[in-house]
Symmetry: C3
Subunit: 161 residues, 3 copies
Amino acid sequence: MRSIEEIIARQKIEETLARYCNHLDSMTLGDLGQLFTEDCVVSFGPNPDLEANGREALIASLARLWRWHRTAHHLCNVVIRFDTTKKATVQSRVHAWHETSDGAEAEIFGTYKDNMVKIDDKWLINTRRMEMNGSRGIFSLPVPAAFRKPPPKNWVKPINL
Amino acid sequence: MRSIEEIIARQKIEETLARYCNHLDSMTLGDLGQLFTEDCVVSFGPNPDLEANGREALIASLARLWRWHRTAHHLCNVVIRFDTTKKATVQSRVHAWHETSDGAEAEIFGTYKDNMVKIDDKWLINTRRMEMNGSRGIFSLPVPAAFRKPPPKNWVKPINL
Amino acid sequence: MRSIEEIIARQKIEETLARYCNHLDSMTLGDLGQLFTEDCVVSFGPNPDLEANGREALIASLARLWRWHRTAHHLCNVVIRFDTTKKATVQSRVHAWHETSDGAEAEIFGTYKDNMVKIDDKWLINTRRMEMNGSRGIFSLPVPAAFRKPPPKNWVKPINL
């Protein structure tokens, strides 16, 4: 049976993921940085401007979000696998909405693929890689596409749907 | 007080629901099928093309999602009631976004009404019925409308709002 | 280590928040009222029509949602801090979609800031304040803007993004 320690770890991991979104929307980047390990590696895509090595670089990089007037990041679909009692592989999904001061909008339906570690009593993000399931509006960052299995060769589009 | 067993069951049920969405978006339908009992009954509406009896039929039916180029299914609002320690009635909400290769979009704000069962150490979906709270874009499937109580006869639309 | 009691409290708090959204979308306002303390204070903004003192006033006030034909409220990003074993400060995020019978839409990306209390075995909302992170469509209620830290004076918009 799952241990109490694991039950608590799952709650804490979800809260770290939620706090990330909240701090990003309020641009409280110092607090956001505390959710990552000091040596974190974060990649939103192959563009060097979208990669950060270390907490300080991440905070500096996410300052780019100020090019938006308002944002909303909503997190869900959390799936956790523990590698040890102090390490976990975590996948989650995010609906990220952005608006310029002119009212132009951009949205991503994305995936976060994280490695998280327990340090003292906290679960922190050690590595994060973002992928994109969908998007609309003026979003143009080269976030890599999430994997989607292609149909088998004999697949036929249903007529009635 | 809620038992440890129930606490764990709640976490596992949420994860099954999350995994469903993730596998649907990656079209890894074999893995998706493992989240359902072999004799599952799933209905997305009265159209026979939207009903499936059994895991294999479900997998075959959900292959219809390949008519979309990209999708994103985001799950939330999970409410669980245990009927026994091995059976639960579960309601959740989904924001389902779909895009054709031409960039046309369709969205559903939906409800999943599930009966779930514990088999070995896993919580699987035994029956699922989908209802629709809202939609936009080109979505045209006859998913039944979710219940919404009508206003009382003396209700007056507020003037200021 | 977090107590079992706290683990359970966290699950119950999330369920109360989810049930609120579900009852709002089905307009089962009597059931919705049971999620609040009898003396609850709820504010969706400075407009007196958006404030309610007490459960009965809240139910009467939320009847305004019948001016929409359909709605969907999806909750996420829950962050909980316990003040005592029976009191918690809770923040969550909501994606609230509304549609008139003419098909006009309005959406809010909002924040709920709640004080919740344990009464008997239930976690109820005692005070709720809503803030708005973003919106689109015809929504015009004066929900107060959520805090967003402005950029530092030396911030420069990135060229490449």
